[in-house]
Symmetry: C2
Subunit: 214 residues, 2 copies
DNA sequence: CGGACCCTTGATAGCTTTCAAGTCAGGTGG
DNA sequence: CCACCTGACTTGAAAGCTATCAAGGGTCCG
């Protein structure tokens, strides 16, 4: 069980209880929770919806670092400024906490400090897997990794929900939208998956997919 | 083991004092400090030498996550097992501490806990930058980024020491050794750099390099 | 001088991108 | 209810970039 890249980010070791709680906030689809470079004032816990987190180069090239689902924490960069942008892919609700308040929590409670560290370490591990994927995997492998991640995340037996657009997949995988589409077609042609709808993937030969991913 | 060598990896916010200290250990060139998958028993602080840290796919494809220089910490993954392999590129000396001891330290001393978190967050930030480089930059840009990193790290005005082989550069940049060589040639041809020796790069037009990197 | 290793260079192949249509589903308004 | 429109996805053809395969230096060191 090599730690395959987890596209959908989740706590490394699930916390028994949320690290913090509080009133809920809503964001509309396409709204930014926070932007790269802005002062990092808050840390968020996602309650519902899907969020993408990434960066853009000045010329518009975009790289997505990960997708977030309910339960995930956002803004753990914990520096003075956010290092990337988080945007709602759907309507989203979150709980947020001031960064200083979270640090205060960690100073008073050893368990909170440890949980915070574990979350950050988990994020680091996923980021390292992402580096391997982008540096050394061919296009079809990348797509297979992502589909398996979606599958694992959803816990679905074989019918997997793809919660993001082809463009977002491409920007996560370091490919173009056309290449993603062609790779999916290839996997379908090889009998590894079927595509009831563009956003639903049926895993027909999960073992073969996992072999491909290594 | 010239102290002018540089690396991509450095503490996010330099610690006033080392997080821990103790007796020194030596590793020979090409020796592994620890291997991916092994039980993560120790955390290391590099005292002298250069270390590379990375993963390999089963078919031999290699991806390097970063290069480490004196002052850097290794093994901060802090999970049950190391997530990557660390190997000495030169003779190396380190100080090491048991993982549990470090956690104990963090539990007793809020400042240590915070330093540990900051180190991990810094590592995460560098990893995110690496993802952007691998996902969305062309070969020559990647090489330029690495050369500028080496430059910044060494603090050299214009004559930069490249402390790693072309193969290691390639494995860090997600390229082949030939492509790295050709990109360096290209930069030289365009007058941005000169190459007194293969491991010494003279920055002739740093502004242009930085423009290229964005 | 010979050998080993690292780096460079050349030619060709292959994969992914780019450019350009074309299809499909969902939503809107007539 | 249907025509239309828009956005998302797919498909095709050609170009471009990087990898692969294959030599060819250069340097260090025995």
């Amino acid at each position: 069980m090599s730690s395959s890249v987890l596209a959908l980010v989740r706590p490394a070791s699930p916390l028994a209880a949320p690290l913090f709680d509080g009133p809920r906030l809503a964001f509309a689809r396409d709204e930014a929770l926070f932007a790269e470079g802005a002062r990092a004032e808050f840390v968020y816990r996602l309650v519902s919806g899907v969020v993408r987190r990434g960066k853009v180069l000045r010329d518009g090239r975009r790289q997505i670092d990960g997708f977030h689902l309910p339960g995930d924490y956002l803004g753990l960069e914990l520096g003075e400024h956010y290092r990337l942008t988080a945007e709602a892919l759907t309507a989203v609700t979150v709980v947020r906490i001031r960064r200083e308040a979270l640090h205060g929590l960690a100073e008073q409670d050893v368990r909170a400090a440890r949980a915070l560290l574990d979350l950050t370490v988990g994020e680091l591990g996923r980021c390292q897997d992402h580096v391997l994927l982008l540096g050394r995997r061919a296009a079809t492998e990348r797509v297979a990794v992502l589909l398996l991640d979606f599958a694992q995340r959803s816990g679905a037996e074989s019918l997997v929900d793809v919660p993001v657009s082809r463009q977002d997949m491409a920007d996560y995988l370091g490919l173009t939208i056309e290449t993603v589409s062609r790779c999916i077609h290839q996997l379908q042609h090889d009998g590894l998956i079927a595509l009831p709808t563009p956003r639903k993937v049926l895993l027909r030969d999960r073992a073969a997919l996992e072999r491909m991913v290594g």
